[in-house]
Point group: C2
Chain length 414, copies 2
């Protein structure tokens, strides 16, 4: 089975929209064992859409279109499909009802006049109700080929795919006899070259199971991809490689797929029944914000203080004035005092203090932008670490937050 995806909309060709639908659809097709051959974007121009549809039907078994199903004059996808297949558009009472229902739910007695246009679909087509918007998904069979017309907004397209289109393709036996699965193994604390060295032999495996390295700011992911006859055998292949990776990178791995560092930290704290508090300077609340993005964090997160000024460090956290005068506010001693101060205030098990220069201004004598000190204290551990980060203000804040969360994850569990 070969598919292609046609995105319709002048706003995409003008660069006003980043097209995320194609990536979503492509990923889903790979999981179904359907080979995606091409992505194309075309403007709201009838002739160009018709000629592209014909071109695509000559190459592929399934042609997805996204966009152009709305009620305005620019929305011409179904007309173009009708024209490409020489089929007239016919009025569908079921769609009219579903549109009327949509507007009733939103407190309008009658659907706006324009909306009725959306009830016209190519003769012989089937449709699935859009529970978020008014444009239904429309499926047109043409000999052994299939056109699937989907609305453009992702919040409408995605539920239609999950609930209707993917099950339909499976039901009709259009899914392939292979599947592609991926799993991301997420590491922190190593740079890309170090991860590369550790797994170098795995990078040239294949072709059925492959490993790729994806470096982000402050983190490195390993992505295992397996193409297999069944989901089960893909999972088995992935598990095998994952085991090897875990053996080599052990403590640097904090999670998989969509798991975040703050999630890993929260899980550990909940399990160990430990509480945490944090005193931030250069990160300005970012670390507390990340920690509290996790639902249930109130169980282990006791308190955060953003002590931006020297005065607040001294008055609120009890940082020693003399230390600031001697070594400056950006120093290991001050980070440690901040951690001690917040531990006193909050009575937490673990406390972190962080101070640094996020830039782009504020370079002090001998202290470069990106210099950051993080201190962690608990009943068992006392650590102070120095970091030198590079990047913009927000990048330095982000890297600092990663380092602090990782420090808490590693030492907090001791």
């Amino acid at each position: 089975m070969r598919a292609e995806i046609i995105s319709i909309g002048t706003e995409i060709l003008l660069g006003h929209i980043v097209n995320t639908n194609t990536a979503y659809l492509s990923k889903k097709m790979a999981l179904l064992g359907i080979d995606v051959y091409r992505h194309t974007t075309v403007g709201d121009n009838p002739m160009r859409i018709v000629s592209l549809l014909k071109e695509a039907l000559s190459r592929s078994d399934i042609v997805f279109t996204t966009g152009g199903l709305g009620p305005t004059v620019d929305d011409i996808t179904l007309n173009a499909i009708g024209s490409a297949l020489s089929r007239s558009l016919v009025f569908n009472k079921g769609i009219e009802k579903s549109i009327a229902k949509h507007f009733r739910k939103r407190g309008l007695k009658k659907a706006p006049k324009d909306a009725v246009k959306q009830a016209y679909i190519p003769r012989g087509a089937r449709w699935f109700e859009n529970k978020v918007g008014t444009a239904p998904a429309v499926l047109v069979e043409y000999g052994k080929k299939l056109i699937v017309a989907l609305p453009g907004p992702p919040r409408e397209l995605i539920p239609l795919c999950e609930k209707n289109i993917i099950p339909y393709l499976k039901r009709k036996g259009l899914a392939g006899n292979w599947t592609i699965k991926t799993k991301a193994i997420k590491t922190v604390g190593l740079v890309e070259a170090e991860v590369n060295r550790a797994v170098k032999d795995l990078l040239s495996m294949g072709p059925e199971t492959t490993v790729g390295i994806y470096a982000h700011l402050g983190e490195v992911d390993l992505k295992i991809t397996s193409k297999a006859k069944s989901e089960k055998s893909a999972n088995r292949d992935i598990k095998k490689v994952e085991k090897t990776i875990r053996k080599r990178l052990g403590k640097y791995i904090y999670g998989t797929d969509t798991e975040t560092l703050e999630y890993a930290l929260g899980t550990m704290l909940e399990k160990k029944k430990k509480t945490l508090a944090i005193a931030e300077s250069c990160t300005g609340g970012l670390i507390a914000n990340r920690i509290t993005n996790i639902s249930g964090s109130s169980k282990y997160f006791k308190m955060g203080v953003v002590a931006y000024s020297n005065k607040s460090k001294i008055n609120l956290l009890g940082v020693s004035d003399a230390k600031i005068k001697k070594s400056g506010a950006v120093s290991g001693g001050v980070a440690l005092d901040m951690a001690k101060g917040i531990k006193n205030l909050s009575k937490s098990d673990i406390a972190i203090g962080i101070t640094g220069i996020a830039g782009p201004k504020g370079k002090a004598k001998k202290k470069p932008i990106g210099l950051v000190y993080i201190a962690l204290i608990s009943d068992k551990v006392k650590v102070v670490k120095e970091y030198r980060f590079k990047g913009t203000r927000e990048e330095i804040k982000l890297q600092s937050s990663i380092a602090a969360l990782d420090l808490a994850r590693q030492h907090g569990s001791k």
Copy 2:
């Protein structure tokens, strides 16, 4: 002038990457008055790339390719271009030198063996040095047509476009005799329908100048787009419409284009020489984080406290225990006490207290998820507001932060 963009890479067809290059390139072409006709994505398959290149050259004057310029066996864009134009690839000493320089800078004495592949470009091609990676931009003229091959990573593609490709197209007179400019007017405090009502007549203007409404979570943007003969006249058209919009939406407008709410707030505070402090509960540090994303915020941001637990609200901020017992921690009275507490601690001119239920757990009797109270006090103002937000935990945090920053922007300046 008509252009099209070919994105090359199996990883895009598999949905592993969201393609942002096409939106970037399209926007730049619109500014240059070059009409973008099509976007296509194709996998790392020589025959498919060659046939697509020929197809594109038959339609368009300028064909951009992105991706496939790396050193690995999968990187075949230049081979495909050579094959499509019947030109052999020739070794280029200048590129070899630039690659060697790249690796020297990174502490390697010699470029890896693979890298030399990147020094082969189609006969007669011109190239521009990539200062971030090793793959140069390669330009091939073919009769009156032009192929521009760009590396795939945006952090390499964007600087090459800004510094080399766009100036080159201008120099060669390939830019069109029109330009498209856009300006976003950013509002906060109104819902989409209200903004719609205020500017309804402007939405059907056109075709040269158009206005669109784009609603985000908690904010609504108005985007003015003008297509004109020159940048100057586009700017003039935009200015005229902007004036009308400002007259109607006045105080709800906080900025334009890339300006953020925290930037608008910071600018106001700096101008009025006022300082700010904030006590957060449900937002967990998000507001402090946003405020401190602005460079120079240390001048006006005095202190932040994340008081997640009742104990920290009572002990650190002096919130009345009786009030919590009577009305609960999520109440207007507690928000006000939090604002008073942080004002006392920080001696700031303006202080904000915020308490609420971010969910998804934590619904209390009669208090739904999304219920948020924000209090602001200054020497002149005392406000307590109740909000009812909907959405996920992070969406409720985000909407709360927008409301708080807007409150500070509006009342803080009094």
